[in-house]
Symmetry: C2
Subunit: 326 residues, 2 copies
């Protein structure tokens, strides 16, 4: 059985605590979408129900086990994730996400900015009900990091000099911070966790987030488009310099010497640059980097005192991130 199948079994097994938690999270997200006036409902219910893997809530529940605040935390991290997606779609003028029209496409820029703001606000409203100041601190740090990551990405757009180190810093901000927060919130709000667990599990979340982002960036270059729902080289077209391009530039001096903006001005050209990146072997090297972070994530788990079943489930989550992109 693949890790994905094993995880699927874990998630849908009727009696499991995790499956109950995830169902309760869905119900809570639907309540939030419907509970703030028809103006939000119209835009947000589509966004919230469009689903996705709910990977961040899964991490909350598996890191936390049981505890009253876990549902709040699971809803909060997903609301924050959704808020950032809704705003990203404004920046990218994206028409579709997961096959459904984005809030930007259906409601316009104004509705999308405001809907994102409202989802952000509801994330904090959910979490503060736990009464845990460290939990609110973890969420506000992650929320700041997401926005900083977006700013760094804008500042580095089209740059010829983005290093792998700078790229990884951006991934920390944009993606890893919220995975780390999800794990930390689980540990903070779970009934039987210790402060040492919180740090170890946050380290797990962070590494998983890095691997997740790197593999996502590899997929943007490798395709196929059927997997991503968008054509290859979307990042190239908006000037986002990711690890595959950075590593390819190190291997192909001609590519390094070229101005990205001049090189990529149409989807057909982006396709050609993707092929050129692939020919350097950079995709394999980037995948290796991601696998390194997955291994480090698993190693971090040994620092937390988790019941065996939850530890094994988190290993499956780690493997699932890799398999998703295999």
């Amino acid at each position: 059985m693949s890790a994905a199948d094993a995880l699927e079994t874990l998630l849908t097994a009727g009696g499991a605590e995790l499956a109950r938690g995830l169902r309760a999270t869905e119900a809570r997200l639907a309540e939030v979408a419907e509970g703030h006036g028809p103006e939000l409902g119209r835009h947000a219910s589509g966004t919230l129900s469009a689903g996705g893997k709910r990977l961040r809530p899964v991490i909350v529940f598996l890191c936390g086990g049981s505890g009253e605040g876990l549902l709040r935390a699971a809803a909060a991290v997903e609301l924050l994730h959704m808020a950032s997606l809704v705003h990203d779609d404004v920046l990218d003028r994206a028409p579709l996400r997961r096959g459904a029209p984005t809030v930007f496409a259906s409601g316009g820029r104004g509705a999308a900015v405001a809907t994102g703001d409202l989802l952000f606000s509801r994330a904090f409203a959910e979490l503060r009900r736990t009464g845990s100041e460290p939990a609110v601190a973890a969420l506000s740090e992650a929320s700041s990091a997401l926005a900083r990551g977006e700013l760094v990405q804008r500042a580095d757009a089209w740059s010829a000099s983005v290093s792998a180190e700078r790229y990884l810093q951006r991934c920390e901000l944009k993606t890893a911070s919220l995975f780390a927060a999800a794990a930390r919130l689980g540990a903070l709000l779970g009934d039987d966790s210790t402060p040492a667990d919180a740090d170890a599990l946050a380290g797990f979340g962070r590494r998983i987030g890095l691997a997740f982002q790197i593999l996502d960036d590899v997929l943007d270059v490798s395709g196929p488009a059927e997997r991503t729902g968008k054509h290859r080289g979307t990042d190239l077209l908006d000037g986002t310099v990711t690890l595959p391009l950075i590593l390819a530039r190190e291997r192909d001096p001609d590519l390094a010497a070229m101005d990205l903006r001049a090189l990529v001005s149409s989807p057909a050209q982006a396709d050609a640059v993707c092929d050129r990146i692939a020919r350097t072997g950079a995709l394999g090297a980037a995948r290796e980097e991601a696998l390194h972070h997955v291994a480090e994530a698993k190693a971090a788990l040994t620092g937390a005192q988790l019941p065996e079943s939850r530890g094994e489930a988190l290993q499956l989550v780690a493997d699932g991130v890799v398999e998703r992109y295999a």
Copy 2:
């Protein structure tokens, strides 16, 4: 001496607790702008230092008196206010605010959405340090209300059927909620306040916020442009239906019958509609409505047990809101 002059004296008197609090707030806002990477600093320091009246922090300090958390609360409400302005400028594609280029103008849509998100996040990061769950609750409710107000405004744009009641609901969300939160935070975090004070002072803040928004909307129709920094009828041009137009429609059936979108498609036409609204006497009626809320605000103050000097200062704040638009 006018209320504005009296308030100015109050704010700048070197020894006063309020003046110290406001100076500390400025310093804290500058730290936040500089403390989150050059990407934020570039965009946010202009926004945060562009100043304004810092009316919301003034309300925090006057409602709270003394207390360790007041500086956090003052910075938090101003950060949230700034975040909403930065996002509003994206929606309105505004080139200038208070005579300086907006983040939207200098950094583009992406930088402005992300900068607003970061300022939102820092507002919660500031306030959670008070360790007060009711305080974080008040901020997250206000933050949600701001976003809902924006959504309602978008939903009602160009509508011929927006009632005065619906308009006031929108003002509650968009403006009054944050004034109410500022007052409540002051009371929650002030050393000598009671729960009854918090409700009374939140009522004061709410009424001041309503008056503030109504008078701002009157000024958009009455001009002069030198006062507002933008030409008359900006609201009309983007389809925002405000109290002057609502009251004018009740008085001028021909105006009521006309389609706003057809009526206002150029600044010159907006100017003409502003004149037409003014001729109905709607501006005076809208000002009356604002004065009613100022009177109610002052009445609400009697429900709070404040030292005489702070009560008098809050009366000056109320009068100052009116005078600003006189």
